[in-house]
C-alpha cells in the first residue's frame, strides 16, 4: 500500500519569537495527506495556533520549512484559507457579500471567464444553502448569532476553493449546543468539499470526533509528542452517537493522558491532592 501524496509537508520547522529564549516550536516534522482531517491539540503554550499560523503563512519560521504540493510556503495565499476563532467577518458587508469577498480580489477574478464568474455566483448560493444562511443572506454580521457568524466565515473561506482549510479553534467561542451542530456541519462539508482540513482545538473530544488523525503537541518548547491515527469510521461517516461510543472514549482517554503527561496539569493535580491530604489531617473528625 502506498501512502497518499502529502499535501502539506513540514520539515524541521522551528519558530522562536524575538526576545524569547525558549522556542515556540522546535523541530516539527509532520505530513498532512491530501483529503485528510487533521487535528492539532495540546496544553496551552504548546504552539498549536502558532503552527497553524505558520502553515497559513501569517508567520515566518525561524528554521526549517513548510511545503504545499512541493512549493515552499512563503506567505499567506488563497490556497490556504483560514477560519479564525473570532470570525473576523467584515461588518460592513452583508452575509452574501462576505461570502463573495474573494470574488472582489484580482487573484480570483484576474483571468476568469464569464462562465467561471457565473459558476462562482452559483457556488456562493450553494454554500449559503448548505450552511443554512439563505434566510439571512442580506443581514449584516452583527445581526447574527455566534454560530451563524462562524458559518459565514467558513463559507467565505470555502468560496475561495482552497486546497487546505485551516481552522484555529473555530468553535471555541460557541456554546455547547451550537458547537454540536457545527460539528455535524463541518463533517458534512468535509465530505462534500473533499478538502484537506487542519483543525486546532483545546477540546479533545472535538478533536477525536472530527479528525482522522490527532497530533498532540507538548509545550516548552512546542514539539510533537505523538501522532494518533484514530481507528474510527472516516470523518464523513461519523454520527453524534459516536461521541459516547467506547472506542471514541478510549481515544479521548489516550489523547487526554498524553496532554496531561506533557503539561503542568499532573503536577497541579498532585499539589491539590497534597493540600486536601493536609487539610484532612488538620481537622480530625
Amino acid at each position: 500500500m502506498t501512502a497518499p501524496a502529502p499535501c502539506i509537508r513540514i520539515a524541521g520547522l522551528g519558530k522562536t519569537y524575538p526576545g524569547q529564549s525558549l522556542p515556540a516550536l522546535q523541530a516539527i516534522d509532520l505530513d498532512v495527506a491530501q483529503g485528510e482531517f487533521l487535528a492539532l491539540v495540546g496544553a496551552s503554550g504548546c504552539g498549536k495556533s502558532t503552527l497553524l499560523r505558520l502553515i497559513a503563512g501569517l508567520e515566518a519560521p525561524t528554521s526549517g520549512g513548510i511545503w504545499l504540493d512541493d512549493a515552499p510556503v512563503t506567505g499567506p495565499g488563497p490556497e490556504r484559507a483560514v477560519v479564525f476563532q473570532d470570525y473576523s467577518l467584515y461588518p460592513w458587508l452583508t452575509v452574501l457579500e462576505n461570502v463573495r469577498f474573494c470574488r472582489s480580489l484580482r487573484v480570483h477574478t484576474g483571468n476568469a471567464s464569464d462562465s467561471q464568474a457565473a459558476s462562482a455566483v452559483e457556488r456562493s448560493y450553494a454554500l449559503l444553502d448548505v450552511m443554512g444562511l439563505d434566510a439571512v443572506r442580506d443581514h449584516y454580521p452583527n445581526q447574527l448569532s455566534g454560530g451563524m457568524r462562524q458559518r459565514v466565515a467558513i463559507a467565505r473561506a470555502l468560496m475561495a476553493q482552497p486546497r487546505v482549510l485551516l481552522m484555529d479553534e473555530p468553535f471555541g467561542a460557541l456554546d455547547a449546543q451550537t458547537r454540536e451542530v457545527m460539528h455535524e456541519l463541518i463533517l458534512r462539508l468535509f465530505e462534500i468539499e473533499r478538502s484537506t482540513i487542519v483543525f486546532v482545538t483545546h477540546d479533545v473530544e472535538e478533536a477525536v470526533y472530527l479528525a482522522s488523525r490527532v497530533v498532540v503537541l507538548a509545550p516548552h518548547p512546542g514539539r510533537v509528542d505523538g501522532v494518533h491515527t484514530l481507528s474510527l469510521p472516516p470523518p464523513g461517516e461519523r454520527h453524534p452517537d459516536l461521541k459516547l461510543a467506547p472506542e471514541l472514549l478510549q481515544w479521548k482517554k489516550t489523547v487526554l493522558e498524553r496532554i496531561r503527561a506533557t503539561s503542568g496539569v499532573q503536577h497541579d493535580l498532585d499539589k491539590l491532592n497534597r493540600l486536601a491530604e493536609l487539610s484532612r489531617r488538620r481537622t480530625p473528625t
Binding site: 499567506p76 473570532d86 467584515y90 460592513w92 480580489l105 449584516y140 452583527n142
Partner: protein, 265 residues
C-alpha cells in the same frame, strides 16, 4: 416605579420622546434663566442683552445688514480649510496607520506639530500669504491638519488584525487590503474624526476673522464690540454655535445613512 428605576439606573434606558423632551427642557431652562437675569435689571443691558433683544438684532442684521454675506463667507472659509485638511490628512493617516516605517517617519513629527499653537501662527501666516482668503484657510488648516492625521492613523490602527489576515489568506494584495478592508473598516471612525475636527475648524475660523478679516461672522463680532453692540456679539456667537450643531448633525445623519450596519441590531 419601574419607569423611575430605569430612568436613574446607571446607563439605563431612555425612550426617544423622553430624550427629546429633556433636551428641549435643557434649552428652555437656559433661555429662561438668561431672560430672567436680563429682565431683572440687575445687569446692565450693555453687558447682557435680553433674548428677545438678540432675536430682534438678528432680524435687523438679516434685513438691513449683510448677515447672509457674512454667513456665506464664513461657511466657505470653514469648508475650504477643513476640506483641504481632510483631503491631505486622510491618505497620510491611512499610510501612517498601516505601515510602520511611515509611522516612524511622520508620527513623532506630527505629535510635535500639533502642539505648536495655531493661534501663534497668525503673524507668520499674514507674513507668508497676506490677509486674503488664503490666510484664513491656512490658519484653519494649521489648527486641524496635524490632529486629523494622528486621529485618522489611530482609526486605521483600530482595524482588527484578523480582518486583515482573513483577506491575506483569501489572496488579497496589499493594495486590495488597504482599499477593500482597512479603508472600509476604518471609515466610520474617520467620519467621526472629521466630525470632531470640523468643530475645531470653526474655532480657528473665528480666530482668523477676529485678527485679519473684513467680512465674516468673526469680523462682525469684532466690529460689534467696537460699537458696544452686545446683542450683535450674542447673535454672532449663537449663530456659530448653531451652524456647528447643524453641520455636526449632518455628519451624524451621513454616518447613519452610510454605515447602516452600525445602526442595525
Amino acid at each position: 416605579m419601574t419607569g423611575v428605576a430605569s430612568f436613574w439606573s446607571i446607563r439605563g434606558h431612555l425612550g426617544n420622546s423622553a430624550y427629546l423632551a429633556l433636551a428641549a427642557a435643557g434649552f428652555t431652562t437656559f433661555l429662561a434663566a438668561w431672560w430672567m437675569l436680563a429682565a431683572s435689571g440687575l445687569v446692565d443691558p450693555v453687558f447682557l442683552p435680553t433674548p428677545d433683544g438678540v432675536v430682534r438684532r438678528l432680524a435687523m442684521w438679516a434685513r438691513e445688514g449683510d448677515l447672509l454675506t457674512d454667513l456665506k463667507v464664513s461657511i466657505g472659509r470653514v469648508l475650504g480649510g477643513f476640506t483641504l485638511a481632510a483631503v491631505m490628512a486622510v491618505p497620510l493617516g491611512i499610510y501612517i496607520g498601516s505601515f510602520r516605517p511611515v509611522q516612524a517617519f511622520f508620527e513623532p513629527l506630527m505629535e510635535f506639530a500639533r502642539y505648536l499653537p495655531a493661534v501663534a501662527f497668525v503673524p507668520l501666516v499674514m507674513l507668508w500669504v497676506g490677509i486674503g482668503e488664503s490666510a484664513k484657510i491656512a490658519l484653519i488648516w494649521i489648527g486641524t491638519y496635524f490632529q486629523m492625521v494622528l486621529m485618522v492613523s489611530d482609526n486605521v490602527r483600530q482595524v482588527p488584525m484578523t480582518q486583515i489576515e482573513a483577506a491575506q489568506t483569501l489572496g488579497a494584495s496589499r493594495g486590495e487590503i488597504l482599499s477593500l478592508v482597512v479603508f472600509k473598516s476604518a471609515l466610520p471612525g474617520i467620519v467621526d474624526t472629521l466630525r470632531i475636527t470640523l468643530g475645531w475648524a470653526w474655532t480657528y475660523l473665528v480666530v482668523a476673522e477676529l485678527v485679519a478679516a473684513n467680512s465674516g461672522l468673526g469680523y462682525a463680532i469684532l466690529r460689534a464690540q467696537r460699537f458696544l453692540q452686545t446683542d450683535k456679539i450674542f447673535v454672532g456667537i449663537l449663530l456659530i454655535g448653531l451652524l456647528g450643531l447643524v453641520m455636526d448633525q449632518g455628519l451624524r445623519l451621513l454616518h447613519r445613512r452610510a454605515f447602516p450596519w452600525l445602526h442595525t441590531r
